[in-house]
């Protein structure tokens, strides 16, 4: 039992890491990036390419892929999101969905149908574990992933709250016109925000490749996990994503215990339960504090 809970927490950390970029763009910039899943699969493929063709270990690959993805983020904002976000909240959904279709099919075109993994390239680490209690083992990679999730989410949270640039990004997301009036370069702030988000997506891709397998069409399922973790945790905060990921993982584990096919269903079930609760609560007279913690707006 304890073992299952611990494994679920680690899995939750993994989901949280997957969700970073999506949650950041959603909570800070109010943009739902439907291409999130395929972008992180793209990153995973890039890590794979580096490892397979050039023998660069994924952990060193980070120094190459993160900047590349940040550059992709720049392009994404400048060529796609800037224009579509102006037309309203809904158009970016269509644009990013189109992008997702393009990316995943290009990946299929390039890499074929085989599933890949980064596990072979990290040596012993892929199965190494610590025994933290009698008979309870935790995989080292899982722990590293959880730590990475905490660092990234926490780091982004602090960055947004404490730094001048973080304030500028928040202001731009809230009201780009007024942001300009007070001297904030709204374009620059938006580009930096998306670039940051994409940087975390690179790490998400690494986590996906290390922990599991992927192919060109894995983007969809990853997007759904990331989305569920984000929403369960309360779309208003970054920390919430970590909690959301853990709750999702716990629900999935419980679901798997109930029924052999219950893993995914368990996750979806908790997702809708949380939605129910949010809807039910937002109608009643809950205090603003509790509402904001749960991510209920208005």
């Amino acid at each position: 039992m304890t073992n299952q809970i611990i494994q679920a927490i680690l899995l939750g950390g993994y989901y949280a890491l997957l969700a970073c970029g999506l949650s950041f763009m959603f909570s800070i910039m109010k943009i739902i990036n439907l291409a999130h899943g395929s972008l992180l699969v793209l990153s995973a493929y890039m890590f794979w390419l580096l490892a397979d063709n050039y023998g660069i270990s994924p952990f060193y690959g980070i120094f190459i892929i993160v900047p590349i993805m940040m550059f992709v983020g720049w392009g994404l904002q400048v060529f796609l999101l800037q224009k579509s976000a102006k037309a309203g909240e809904l158009l970016p959904i269509l644009t990013t969905f189109g992008l997702a279709i393009v990316i995943e099919n290009l990946l299929f075109q390039q890499f074929g149908a085989d599933t890949r993994s980064l596990a072979p390239y990290i040596g012993d680490l892929s199965w190494a574990s610590w025994e933290i209690y009698e008979d309870i083992y935790v995989g080292k990679t899982s722990v590293y992933i959880l730590i990475a999730a905490i660092i990234i989410l926490g780091g982004l949270h602090l960055f947004m709250k404490k730094t001048a640039l973080g304030r500028q990004i928040r202001a731009t997301a809230h009201d780009p016109e007024t942001a300009g009036l007070v001297g904030v370069n709204a374009r620059k702030a938006s580009v930096i925000a998306v670039a940051l988000a994409m940087g975390t997506v690179a790490v998400s891709g690494l986590a996906l490749g290390i922990r599991g397998v992927f192919n060109a069409y894995s983007g969809g399922p990853q997007l759904l996990f990331a989305f569920e973790a984000t929403i369960i945790g309360g779309a208003a905060s970054l920390w919430g994503t970590l909690i959301g990921g853990i709750i999702l993982a716990l629900a999935q584990t419980i679901g798997a215990n109930i029924h052999p096919q219950g893993f995914l269903i368990g996750g979806h079930a908790i997702f809708f339960t949380v939605l129910f609760i949010r809807i039910f609560l937002s109608k009643g007279g809950m205090s603003r504090r509790i509402k904001s913690v749960l991510g209920i707006s208005r």
């Binding site: 304030r167 928040r170 809230h174 009201d175 007024t178 942001a179 009036l181 007070v182 001297g183």
Partner: protein
Amino acid sequence: MTSLKIQNLDVQHGQLKAVRNLSLTVQTGEVVALIGANGAGKTTLLGSIAGVHRATSGSILLNGQDITGIPSHKRVQAGLALVPEGRKLFTEMTIEENLRLGSTSARPGYWTVDNVLEVFPNLIKRRHSKTGLLSGGEQQATAIGRALMSNPEILILDEVSLGLSPLVVNQVYDSLKRLLETDTTIILVEQDLTRAMKVASRAVCMLEGEIILNKQMSEVSREEITDAYFGLHKVKDR
């Protein structure tokens, strides 16, 4: 010395030409009261000076530099700050955060967070409160403070008293006394004529996108301004 020079400005607002062939010169240190009914084009004019609305033709020069085409954040850098109509504070951020944002493109100068709070002492204890929770007067003070943080050469105040009780407006203007004593150029929109006449050195009246009155406050009577406000000068001239 000329601070701001607007020449033959045309600004479109949707289908409407909100500012027509407008020319205006503002000298350093002047306090210009921009007067006019709703819909006269004041906010559009101020918005185009600040960089929010794009001019269809004409030019705006700030200290000789042509700022007509440059984005608003660069105009702040050049020394121009607008306190927009409706305050437009970042409601999810605190007073302090809003003020700090104001200094993003700040020029060197007197205004710091502490100095601003000194001028608006009622904000001190709410320093870390989200601005969405503040009262109207506190919000207005924050908005003005935020604009001051960039150490502007020209400060533009659009509808400072909108939605505020007379008592609160008094307080806001009291706080502005210090500012009015410096040589900051100020353009302000004020519906209260008495107050405008007391505070400003020049009266500029707008009607349907054009300037119909542009005189030193000392040379103009209250009646003249009122006539211009309602467009009666056209009638009387016949």
